[in-house]
């Protein structure tokens, strides 16, 4: 038995050591696999980055109240009365004075100029009270100060400042006829809030002709994750046509928007993988043909045909893994941490960062292995059946 394995091992080592003799053909196979893996990982990293940004935004401790069926903050409208009624709902955490911890907010769209393309794109502008800052996790003002109530001042998210022009602290910005001063920059640890501009809620109401209405309410939950008492309260009051869900659920559903990209990435990579597979098969058949005499000689001196099979299969898998690793490294080098922005569910730009997680890395290597296995299997089969008599003939 030990002899059987040592035979296999000998042939594998022999095949791999002889790779430089077929350098160009082998490089072609490696290169093809590398490109396919890099393309797959680029798409997956894009979808993953978007999903993580939005998933990291929502908190389980906070409930978000929107008008029924509105799907996103942008479409929702809540009248002053509704906001007042909702403050009396059960299940909301109370502060030291016994008041509910909540934030009534507005969500409007303004234009900004994207640095990358120099084109106009939509930026979300949120009107809120300073209390609302406490409902965001990991919030830090990294430059300047928060806005003061009653003034045309904004604090900008770090993502906005990276992707758009003219949002430095101290800058004056015009939206239509109104002019605003940038007084600070905030970070929320990479979440989607960093794609927003924040300003004083009553000021936004007056400058954007919103009267006394709001769009959403955030409520701090007394029991994290538990919105049932609030839901029951809404169901019992026929004047309230509202949806309530945890902020985590709200953003998780928005994070699915780029899932189509991941599916597209897989489809393209599998089709391209078929092309690379043709390349791998080509390489391996050539390799088997070139080594036919060698293989037959080994058989003549007592090596099993299993060892010939294993040798060829291993050669193909090694080439593919090398290709897979090169492709994955290239994807990591070029795309990991790459910052981009796209149109999210609220018609506004969401700034996100490509993320190449170990799990995605494993997906890339798996694809390479599948190509290597299939690309090696059939040529290995042929190699195992080289007749011994070939050893005593000239090649071809």
């Amino acid at each position: 038995m030990a002899g059987f394995f040592s035979q296999i091992w000998t042939v594998i080592v022999m095949n791999i050591l002889s790779l430089p003799r077929r350098a160009w053909m082998s490089l072609a196979a490696v290169f093809a696999v590398a490109v396919v893996v890099a393309v797959l990982l680029a798409f997956l990293a894009m979808a993953k980055g978007f999903e993580r940004t939005l998933a990291g935004t929502g908190s389980d401790n906070v409930a978000i109240v929107t008008r029924v069926g509105s799907q996103s903050e942008l479409n929702s409208v809540l009248g002053r009365d509704t906001v007042n009624t909702m403050m009396t709902a059960p299940g909301i955490a109370l502060d030291d004075n016994g008041d509910p911890i909540q934030s009534s907010e507005l969500f409007v769209i303004v234009d900004g100029v994207k640095r990358s393309s120099q084109t106009q794109a939509n930026i979300p502008m949120r009107g809120l009270f300073l209390d609302g800052f406490d409902l965001r996790e990991n919030l830090t003002i990294i430059e300047g100060r928060p806005f003061e109530s009653g003034r045309n001042e904004i604090v900008v998210g770090k993502g906005v400042q990276n992707q758009f022009e003219g949002f430095d602290v101290g800058a004056e910005i015009r939206f239509g006829k109104t002019s605003w001063e940038v007084v600070g920059v905030f970070s929320t640890g990479g979440s989607a809030f960093e794609s927003e501009l924040w300003a004083d809620a009553p000021t936004v109401q007056s400058q954007f002709q919103r009267g006394s209405s709001f769009q959403t309410m955030r409520l701090k939950l007394a029991n994290p994750g538990d919105v049932t008492p609030i839901k029951a309260f809404i169901d019992n009051d026929p004047t309230l046509n509202l949806d309530v869900q945890t902020e985590a659920d709200y953003f998780a559903s928005q994070g699915q928007a780029l899932n189509g990209i991941a599916i597209f990435g897989w489809a393209i990579s599998i089709v391209m993988g078929l092309g690379a597979l043709a390349g791998a098969l080509n390489t391996m058949y050539t390799s088997v043909a070139a080594r036919a005499q060698e293989t037959a000689t080994l058989r003549a001196i007592g090596f099993s045909n299993t060892s010939a099979f294993a040798g060829t299969l291993a050669e193909s898998m090694v080439l593919s893994i090398i290709g897979g690793i090169i492709g994955a490294l290239a994807a990591w080098l070029f795309f990991d941490g790459f910052s981009a922005s796209t149109l999210g569910a609220t018609f506004t730009q969401v700034v996100f960062t490509f993320e190449l997680t170990p799990e995605l890395f494993a997906n890339g290597i798996l694809l390479a292995l599948v190509i290597g296995f299939i690309g090696g299997f059939f040529p290995a089969w042929r190699s195992a059946r080289v007749p011994v008599v070939t050893a005593f003939q000239g090649v071809e």
Partner: protein
Amino acid sequence: MKDFYLVLKNLTRKKMRLFLTVFATFIAFMIFGTLTAFQKAFDSGIELSADDRLIVLNKISFTQVLPIAYANRVRAVEHVEAMTHLNWFGGYYQDPRSQFAMFAVDAENFMEVFDELVLTDAQRQAWIDNRQGLIAGQAIAENFGWQVGDRIPINSNIFSQRDGRTDWDFDVVGIYTGEDPQTDTNSVYFHYEYFNETQSFGGDFIGFMAVRTSDPSLNEEVIKSIDDMFANSPAETETVPEKAFNKAFIEQIGNLSLILTSVVLAAFFVILVIVGNSMILSIRERTAEIGVMKTLGFTSSRIFRMVLAESLLLALIGGVLGVLASGSLITLINNAPIQLPVLVLDSSVWSQAMLFVIGLGFITGIVPAMSALRLNIITALSRS
């Protein structure tokens, strides 16, 4: 012709290798054909936009509204042929997640401004006469199974009726098609009056306006007249050509064409390496043979041409098969029940593909052809 026979024989000498290289080329051109059709579909929104059409928006953002009073003032501007105003309704049918483009418009003027939408005169009149009537594009009507004569409820994810309901009842009175096969027919239009009288958030505002000018050369003049008219008012306007508006909107999604082009390039690169290598290998295997041919009196340039013809033929077979396959794939995608623009594989895709075929055949054949050209008979024969 004799040479062609030899080229064919050379090509089919190793069936497995021929199959694999043709297959790799096939894949690359299938990807090329399909993605190019996608890119053209995305661009069609820009290319099909009318040169004489302008969009008037609130300067702050297209989501900010304008007073209805602006409509008549814009209509009176010189060189404005027709004008309609539009309000985004945020409509959905049954499933809140599948929102579609639905606008409340000034029905009487709408078809004057969007004259590329085709509706029979009877349906058009029926729409104008029926305040609760809507017209739907062919694509969306097929998607939801709507027929002329149906009465359907549509919800809004923004607006609600005065009694708190978020659904409105509509009569489907017309289904429009487009003049061009790529015209978008995924939108729904209904009467502004019906919207304005029933929705609950204060009335008399409009989303934006679409204006048709009497001649594209007068666009600049009209843009200036409109924007100057509302300068320094509480709602300033920004008037842009429809083409620019559509382009900006598509660009918001990100650089789609860059992504698609990179993928096509990557696919071509892979194929180039595989096919090129295969060609080099198969010529190298034939070194002795080429030596014999030269001895027999084949000129070097004739052999050069034969090798090049072989690689061109290889690329041509894979390329044609690949583009044909992408054609069937596109038909399949067009028939799938998803909201996508119409994909078309037109002659420009074919001619572009054939250019790539020639390029691919040339690049993969040139190195082996050159080495065959330079091959010295003595070296060739002694090498075997």
